[in-house]
């Protein structure tokens, strides 16, 4: 084994042992082949998220937000730099990505099965998780028989079934109507408090980021990197319509527009 790799491995063990960080991204660069040339999705992005923290990433489309999550989930490879998640990861996407041939219950049970939970326990655990996201009575519906908000609740229950330490969310509520989104913000906040999950939440909506995050990271466009970081000190639960929230969100939106006019 090459020494550098060995050091990497040891370092990541040390980080995993430290209780502080749930995930750390260090000068992460990701390039994709695009025609003959390489397209830079991320260029030296650096961020750290502490255990139990709720961090939102805001950026325009093309800021490499989704690429960041894919690398953290192990679905894409870094071209340079490092990205580590210390613990088990679950992902939630904009489309719920439920398996359409399984019922709500079946989708949650599959996550348990893939975790090798014993068959007799799966059903009870899955029912309890669906209860926690307020889907009692909808266990036997298939995804196409559920509304967009309900599908995301199932996706949330499925993520919890994965017994994850870190939840990576990629614009999960972007295609929902305002009322469902409001409800789900509350639910997500409640589940986060109860479970002490670490959440990295990607969105293009500054108000949503300020509504949910302990911290908000503003990403530059093409290529993406962290341009700006805002700590949100507003008391929870916050209201999307509160003037304080609007002020902070407004500043972030200004910053985003500034980044976009620079980046093209």
């Amino acid at each position: 084994m090459r020494p550098a790799l060995e050091v990497d491995r040891l370092m990541s063990n040390v980080l995993a042992l430290s209780e502080k960080h749930a995930l750390s991204v260090d000068r992460l660069t990701v390039a994709f082949p695009h025609g003959d040339q390489l397209l830079l999705a991320l260029d030296g992005a650096t961020l750290e998220v502490q255990r139990g923290e709720f961090v939102c990433v805001v950026g325009a489309s093309g800021s490499g937000k989704s690429t960041l999550l894919n690398v953290l989930a192990g679905l894409d490879r870094p071209s340079a730099g490092r990205a580590h998640v210390h613990g088990r990861v679950a992902l939630i996407f904009q489309e719920s990505a439920l398996l359409p041939w399984l019922t709500a219950l079946g989708n949650v049970e599959l996550a348990l099965e893939l975790r090798e939970v014993r068959r007799p326990d799966r059903r009870d655990i899955a029912l309890e998780l669906l209860h926690r996201v307020h889907l009692d009575g909808f266990e036997n519906r298939r995804p196409h028989e559920l509304s967009g908000g309900m599908k995301q609740r199932v996706a949330l229950a499925r993520a919890l079934a994965q017994d994850a330490d870190v939840l990576l969310m990629d614009e999960p509520f972007a295609s929902l109507d305002a009322i469902s989104r409001d409800l789900l913000h509350g639910e997500l906040e409640r589940i986060w408090r109860e479970s002490r999950l670490t959440i990295l939440f990607v969105t293009h909506n500054a108000r949503e980021a300020v509504r949910l995050g302990d911290r908000v990271m503003v990403f530059t466009s093409r290529p993406g990197r962290v341009a700006h970081e805002v700590a949100i000190d507003l008391p929870r639960p916050r209201s999307l319509d509160s003037p304080e929230l609007a002020v902070i969100a407004g500043r972030i939106t200004d910053r985003l527009q500034h980044e976009m006019s620079n980046g093209g």
């Binding site: 989930a73 990861v89 990505a97 398996l99 041939w101 893939l114 298939r142």
Partner: protein, 285 residues
């Protein structure tokens, strides 16, 4: 939350009469049946009109009535069912082998990149090749045997089945694969829990098309070869032609048509139920 309320609102209305659903079901069945009955009636009328025009003598082209009478007579003979059974047994055997072979080939091609490049285009060629072209070779290899017939059915059906499954696996939404991986499904478990179920609707389409090819191949093969002392539908067609017994010939053609319609209907029902379950059908079509 209209979804939740609707069943409660409907309950008192539906409770008093139990006969109502049956009547509704009959009405539904009738509304889907009458166009088909109408089409059959129109066909019979045209057939009768051609016979009455005197284009061919009744010995060569009998009218629908004597043919159906002859068929009704055949229905009383045990031999009639034995002959159908011989043909259907061959169809089932050849088709079953084709399903297994087609599925294995498709999974192999999907798994191995090199195999995909090598066999992918071959599969298209095989699919467009009339399977009866395999028959002379099959006879050379296996003589005039059940095996030769099975080989032709296999070569007719397997490429369509493999192509159906393969295109189904290609079209699996990448997001589902990402989700499966993120849940910890890798290798075979990813196939078992995500890729194969996602490909099922396309696979059923391939199965249906494969059956159509198998049935045609079998009819061609049975017309060309007489094996042992097993009398089949194809062989009965041949002997009715050489007798000549036009009524019997047409009676057998009706039987072949009906078998085709029934089995196609079964595949159609399977296809619809899978699509409904997968959320690909809206409402009760």
């Amino acid at each position: 939350m209209a979804v939740e309320l609707a069943p409660d609102l409907r309950l008192p209305e539906a409770a008093p009469t139990i006969g109502k659903p049956i009547r509704e079901w009959l009405a539904g069945a009738w509304s889907s049946l009458w166009p088909k009955l109408g089409a059959i009636l129109v066909t019979l009328v045209i057939w009768q009109a051609v016979v009455w025009s005197g284009w061919r003598p009744p010995a060569a082209l009998p009218g629908p009535w004597p043919v159906l009478e002859r068929l009704a007579g055949d229905l009383g003979h045990a031999d009639f069912y034995l002959e159908i059974a011989v043909t259907l047994r061959r169809a089932a055997l050849g088709y079953a082998v084709a399903v297994v072979a087609g599925t294995l080939v498709a999974i192999l091609i999907a798994r191995i990149k090199l195999a995909r490049r090598a066999v992918g285009s071959l599969l298209v060629g095989l699919q467009s090749m009339p399977s009866i072209a395999w028959f002379p070779l099959a006879i050379l290899l296996l003589q005039r045997s059940e095996g030769a017939i099975a080989l032709v059915v296999l070569m007719g059906a397997a490429p369509a089945i493999a192509a159906g499954l393969l295109s189904g696996m290609d079209q699996v939404h990448p997001l589902l694969i990402r989700v499966g991986r993120a849940m910890g499904a890798d290798g075979l478990r990813l196939y078992r829990h995500v890729i194969l179920p996602a490909a099922l609707p396309a696979f059923v389409g391939g199965l249906k098309q494969g059956w159509a090819f198998a049935w045609r191949s079998l009819m061609s093969a049975e017309l060309l070869v007489v094996t042992g002392n097993q009398i089949s539908i194809g062989q009965q067609l041949q002997s009715a032609r050489s007798a000549p017994d036009a009524q019997q010939l047409l009676a057998w053609m009706v039987v072949i048509f009906v078998i085709g319609v029934v089995i196609d209907g079964l595949f159609g029902a399977l296809d619809r139920s899978v699509r409904r379950r997968w959320g690909l059908l809206r409402g009760d079509q």
